[in-house]
């Protein structure tokens, strides 16, 4: 184990995968500038800066992926993906199906989002649900440095287009990461804390709010299990359904806005597939349906807090 940040973990994953497979290339806005160690090791043909033009960055990745390369692209902030929607959604996500399976699109799109830097709604927009709703894509959003590394390695090896969200609030927080080969399979949730009274289901930054809430609740005699989804598509239904069948209560927590968010899908799945095990309604705690504000207190108020989760769970268990 070594203690590194998520940013460093991403660098390790990229370097290891580029070493392992000569078809892996990385390009995007400032990639060669920010990841100069990759340029030194792999050269400017494989690690490239690009114009600030998200459409052509993503389109180039899709075209390259269909013809033998494995591009990892960095679009910087998640709202900028709006300029690359056609290339990611219409091309990478659909052209395999539309061609009757003739092509595959092994590419990873990196994009930062989330509260923490006060950058405002055109740099901070947790839009991961858009991609969960789009066919042919996979969507990943890790919560800790080890998962950033392991999930990115798995994403690069995957033969499908993966949209990989980086919560900026987590990028420079250190954590333990296994040395060497550490691959976390896509589509597998983690249970960072076991419990028996309520299941807290989350991903990204709010996993930590759930863990903090679970600790508080423990002091009140309430045992909370935390499920970290890690991959939002494909969703590890079995993991959270098994947990809810055990605890009988579910609270879904995410920073993204509530309406049609991933939490809605999780809640509906629980209602459909384990209604009988529920002792109460499935509760969603999510960001409001407003653009993310810049001002620090407002930005913090946007994000679900441990206190909100604790209050909600108390209501649910009747304490």
């Amino acid at each position: 184990m070594s203690t590194i940040t998520a940013h460093e973990a991403i660098g390790q994953a990229l370097a290891e995968e580029m070493r392992r497979d000569s078809t892996v290339i990385a390009f995007g806005e400032g990639v060669a500038t920010k990841r100069h160690e990759l340029v030194e090791e792999f050269g400017r043909a494989r690690v490239r800066n690009t114009p600030l033009a998200e459409g052509i960055i993503a389109g180039t990745a899709a075209g390259a992926a269909a013809t033998g390369l494995r591009p990892v692209i960095d679009l910087l902030f998640a709202p900028f993906i709006c300029f690359a929607m056609d290339e990611i959604v219409n091309s990478a996500g659909k052209l395999r199906y539309m061609s009757g399976g003739q092509f595959s699109f092994p590419m990873v799109t990196l994009a930062m989002t989330g509260a923490g830097w006060g950058v405002g709604a055109q740099h901070n927009h947790n839009n991961e649900a858009w991609f969960v709703h789009s066919p042919g894509l996979k969507v990943v959003m890790p919560s800790n440095p080890a998962d950033f590394k392991g999930l990115l390695k798995a994403s690069i090896r995957d033969d499908n287009p993966v949209v990989f969200f980086l919560d900026i609030g987590l990028l420079y927080v250190p954590g333990e990461v296994p040395e060497g080969e550490h691959v976390v399979p896509l589509g597998k949730a983690a249970i960072p804390r076991e419990g028996s009274d309520v299941t807290l289901i989350s991903y990204g930054k709010t996993v930590h709010a759930c863990l903090a809430a679970a600790k508080t609740l423990e002091g009140e005699g309430i045992s909370a299990e935390v499920v970290d989804l890690r991959t939002l598509k494909p969703l590890d239904e079995e993991a959270f359904l098994a947990s809810v069948r055990k605890t009988g209560r579910a609270v879904v927590v995410h920073e993204a806005s509530r309406t049609c968010g991933v939490g809605a899908e999780v809640a509906a799945t629980i209602a459909e597939k384990s209604f009988a095990s529920l002792a109460g309604p499935v509760v969603r705690i999510a960001g409001p349906d407003v653009p993310a504000p810049s001002s620090y207190p407002l930005e913090q108020a946007f994000v679900p807090s441990a206190a909100q989760i604790v209050t909600s769970v108390r209501g649910l268990v009747g304490k």
């Binding site: 290339i25 043909a45 490239r48 690009t50 114009p51 033009a53 459409g55 052509i56 993503a58 389109g59 180039t60 990745a61 899709a62 075209g63 390259a64 992926a65 269909a66 013809t67 033998g68 390369l69 591009p71 056609d86 290339e87 219409n90 091309s91 052209l95 395999r96 199906y97 539309m98 061609s99 009757g100 399976g101 003739q102 092509f103 595959s104 699109f105 092994p106 066919p135 042919g136 996979k138 033969d159 499908n160």
Partner: protein, 320 residues
């Protein structure tokens, strides 16, 4: 070129254009008879497809758009499997999942057909990058229209291709129509090719209704790309004589303009030219036309008799 190879080349170009015309008119007729869904044709533009594609080598790659039948057929795609795709049959090149608009044929190097106007431009740079990084001498031909040249991605694509020295032959088929809107309503200049200069790229406009001129211009452009590994913009100036899609009554089209372009029909003009020069005989051309009709009859029969995809196919080919 000696007389015999000139005759062979002329026959191939003529046959290709006649095949494209016959295929698209059959697809349009099938739509009118209620036997096929709507389709987008390139009737009037056959010289552009045949002229450019016949100038490519077998390892070159093609990206195209919703008016793709010409590029596919000129490349040697089986009209039966194409018609099957138009009818949504399991024997289609894309198992019926593409339909008429998005046919790709990987084995022929006709890859990544996008009907999002400009989609092909966004993908071409990536294919060019693959070719370039694999050290191949292949050229990537990307077909798009004047409509796509009005999209922002046109600039992004040409800028990156020239910046990264990607071997892309950009072929703008300027057919004067952007869906239901005349080009004159959407851009001030008549031509796209001068824009190449902004990217340090060569740009040439050729009469897109003269198949030999297109073929020659494409050969020159392709040779230059192979030599320099830099992109090139070739504009084929032509006209879409049918509507945006089938059915389309074209009430929005100026009849005089349409008539003037129909008088310059690429197939009729080429036939006249070949006969005048004595390159091929009338009987020879008539035989080609008969063969093509038989081919298209066979293609339609094959497509009609082919099964629809099994219900399970709905859920396959989503992920690799």
């Amino acid at each position: 070129m000696d007389m015999e190879s000139r005759r062979e080349s002329a026959r191939a170009l003529f046959q290709s254009m006649v095949l494209i015309r016959a295929f698209e008119e059959r697809a349009a007729a099938a739509q009118a008879e209620g036997k096929a869904p709507g389709t987008c044709t390139s009737v009037g533009q056959e010289a552009s497809a045949a002229g450019v594609v016949k100038a490519l080598s077998s390892n070159d790659l093609i990206l195209t758009n919703h008016r793709s039948a010409g590029h596919l057929l000129a490349r040697g795609a089986d009209p039966g499997r194409m018609m099957a795709e138009v009818l949504g049959k399991a024997t289609g090149y894309c198992k019926g999942k593409s339909g008429t608009l998005h046919i790709s044929v990987k084995e022929l190097g006709v890859i990544l057909t996008s009907t999002i106007v400009g989609g092909e431009l966004s993908l071409a740079t990536g294919v060019g990058l693959s070719v370039s990084m694999q050290g191949s001498d292949a050229v990537v031909a990307c077909f798009f229209g004047d409509g796509a040249a009005c999209e922002g991605i046109f600039h992004e694509s040409l800028n990156l291709a020239s910046l990264w020295n990607l071997p892309v032959l950009y072929v703008c088929e300027n057919n004067q129509w952007q869906a239901f809107v005349h080009r004159k309503e959407t851009m001030l200049a008549d031509h796209i090719s001068p824009r190449a200069a902004s990217y340090g790229m060569d740009g040439v406009t050729v009469d897109g209704n003269d198949v030999e001129a297109v073929n020659e211009a494409a050969r020159v452009a392709i040779a230059k790309i192979r030599e320099t590994r830099k992109p090139f913009l070739l504009e084929t100036y032509t006209y879409r004589t049918r509507g945006h899609y089938e059915p389309d009554d074209q009430t929005y089209v100026d009849p005089e303009e349409l008539a003037s372009w129909k008088a310059r029909d690429p197939i009729a003009s080429y036939k006249k030219k070949l006969l005048a020069a004595g390159t091929v005989s009338e009987a020879d051309l008539a035989a080609i036309q008969r063969e093509v009709e038989t081919t298209i009859d066979g293609a339609f029969l094959f497509a009609s008799e082919s099964p629809y995809p099994a219900a399970e196919e709905l859920l396959t080919d989503v992920y690799a």
